[in-house]
Amino acid sequence: MAISSSETLALPPLQARRGLQAPPWLPGMWLMAPTVLFLLVCFLYPVLHVMTLSVTAQTVDGANVDGWTLANYTRLFSVDLYLRILLRTLRIAALACVCCVVLAYPLALGIARGTPLMARLVTVAVVAPLLVNVVVRAYGWSAILSRNGALNQVIKGLGIADNPGQLLYTEWAVLIACVHVYLPFMVMPLAQAISRIDRSVEEAARIAGATRLQTFWRVVFPLSLPGLSVGVSLVFSLSAAAYVMPQILGGNFSPLLGTLIEQQIVSLSDWPFAAAIACLLIVVVLASNIVFLRFFNRRFARWTAGAR
């Protein structure tokens, strides 16, 4: 009795709504409409506006000149200073990726292969600093890396060098802070990828006589590449777009694309050129996502086919 009544009465929810005259997706549209409208007006329109600004206006003698122009882009790619800033941005983003990969593997292994207690401790220790404001962490690094900072005091105290130079206001400071701040974004996808690897595969390698290092290099590493590509794309695009760390730790000596945008607008009011830099930044971030997630994942799939 109970079974037959549930069979006749419990209609699948989607089909139940199909019988009405209005299209079945209309209520869904109403639910999403405010958010879609909000993002179209307050996000997509402003970003597209900046993009068009970069090709329809330029500043000549402090006044905006309208009309289609690529002058902002030719300036961006022909002036040596801007090219150097672009290269520095890409270099720091690439180096941050490399450092994060090296540091993230031990942590990810600790999360994915450690005891439950260890996994939890490492996760919390990796993720908790994310909740601390990025300005605070940048300040912390400046307190460590400045001329009288903690690092130099330790170096002097240990008698390694009498008058060590400072790392603050150099590319190194920006790199160190980027690695610190974006490390969690490498660790978490890697840990997920490693925990999905079947342990019996590792056991098989060990029984077959592989050392721990060989097991890692020939088994765990190739199988973790999907997680690695997610982490690399995140760290690369976050570092390339970083603003706060270069601003506080790089000073005026090593601006990145983000700091260059701010300079152009705040100091020079050159909106069209700043818009062109902004577009370049978007392109760099999108390209890194496409390259690392699409292209590399396909390569990785072929590579890992051998490892399976």
Binding site: S5, S6, A10, L11, P13, P24, W25, P27, G28, W30, L31, T35, V36, F38, L39, C42, F43, L44, Y45, P46, H49, P106, L107, L109, G110, V122, A125, V126, V127, P129, L131, V132, N133, V134, V135, V136, Y139, G140, A143, I144, G149, A150, Q153, A177, H180, L183, M188, R199, E203, I207, R212, A241, Y243, G258, E262, A278, L281, I282, V285, L286
Partner: protein, 264 residues
């Protein structure tokens, strides 16, 4: 076969974690140093820098302003994000892929560019509603986190429970309140907490949209770093670190959301 982590590896893990704690620990040590300028290792012990900061009116005002802004942004993000997530999961809407792309795209566009774009449009409109501008700017960035988190909990909702409830005579409102809400709540809480933190911590968007009367705490901290060199900056940093710790504890105890879940 033993699966415990190799002692060498464990040592490396401990070292990396210790190094990553340094930028949080060093300011704390400096904040209690009894010298008028920043020195390391700290000398003496004093809490005077903390009392100096706590009695600074601008610091208080910035902190309270950030709390208010983050609170409003969280409410607006939830009000927009929960229905959108429900719509995305529950209905086969034409153009769903495009809508998902639109909702998640603020995560891809660099924050500094989003801020510039908003400032450009606001100044074109001649807007002076700074608080509204900040709420709009922060909500754009917080929405994707809310939608993602709520969407994933909506996908776990067990449809047969809803059918059972309505077969037994529950009205749609009762089903929503008593059957759907308890299952979606964890995702809503996680999304709300994340929106609050993202808004409270934001620098690159506020930088463009704030003014002297609407000055979020990250901007205040940055302006102090540029201006002064006494340990009161270290004291503000320490207070903000403790505030973050407090948030973690509240999140874990009251909401029962693990930080690991927040991050993923």
């Amino acid at each position: 076969m033993n699966h415990t982590i190799n002692p060498w590896l464990r040592g490396v893990i401990v070292l990396i974690l210790l190094a990553s704690m340094m930028p949080l620990v060093v300011p704390m040590m400096m904040a209690v140093s009894d010298t008028p300028n920043i020195v390391f290792p700290p000398r003496g012990f004093t809490l005077k820098w903390f009392s100096k900061v706590l009695h600074t009116e601008e610091a208080q005002a910035s902190f309270l302003f950030s709390l208010k802004l983050a609170g409003v942004v969280t409410l607006v993000s939830l009000a927009l994000g929960i229905p959108a997530a429900a719509g995305l999961v529950r209905f086969r809407v034409p153009g769903k892929g495009a809508i998902v792309g639109l909702v998640l795209s603020p995560l891809v566009v660099p924050l500094i560019v989003t801020g510039v774009a908003l400032l450009q449009v606001f100044s074109m409109l001649g807007s002076h509603a700074t608080f509204l501008q900040l709420v709009i700017g922060h909500t754009v960035v917080c929405l994707p986190y809310v939608v993602r988190s709520v969407t994933s909990s909506f996908m776990l909702v067990n449809a047969s429970l809803e059918d059972a409830a309505s077969v037994l005579g529950a009205s749609p409102a009762v089903v929503a309140r008593k059957v759907i809400w308890p299952q979606v709540r964890p995702g809503v809480l996680a999304g709300g907490v994340f929106a609050f933190i993202v808004s409270f911590d934001d620098y690159p968007i506020s930088m463009w949209l704030a003014d002297g009367n609407h000055f979020p705490i990250p901007l205040y901290l940055d302006s102090q770093i540029q201006l002064s060199f006494d340990p009161s900056i270290a004291a503000i940093s320490t207070l903000m670190i403790f505030f973050a710790l407090l948030l973690v504890l509240v999140i874990e105890k009251v909401f029962g959301i693990s930080i690991a879940r927040l991050a993923t």
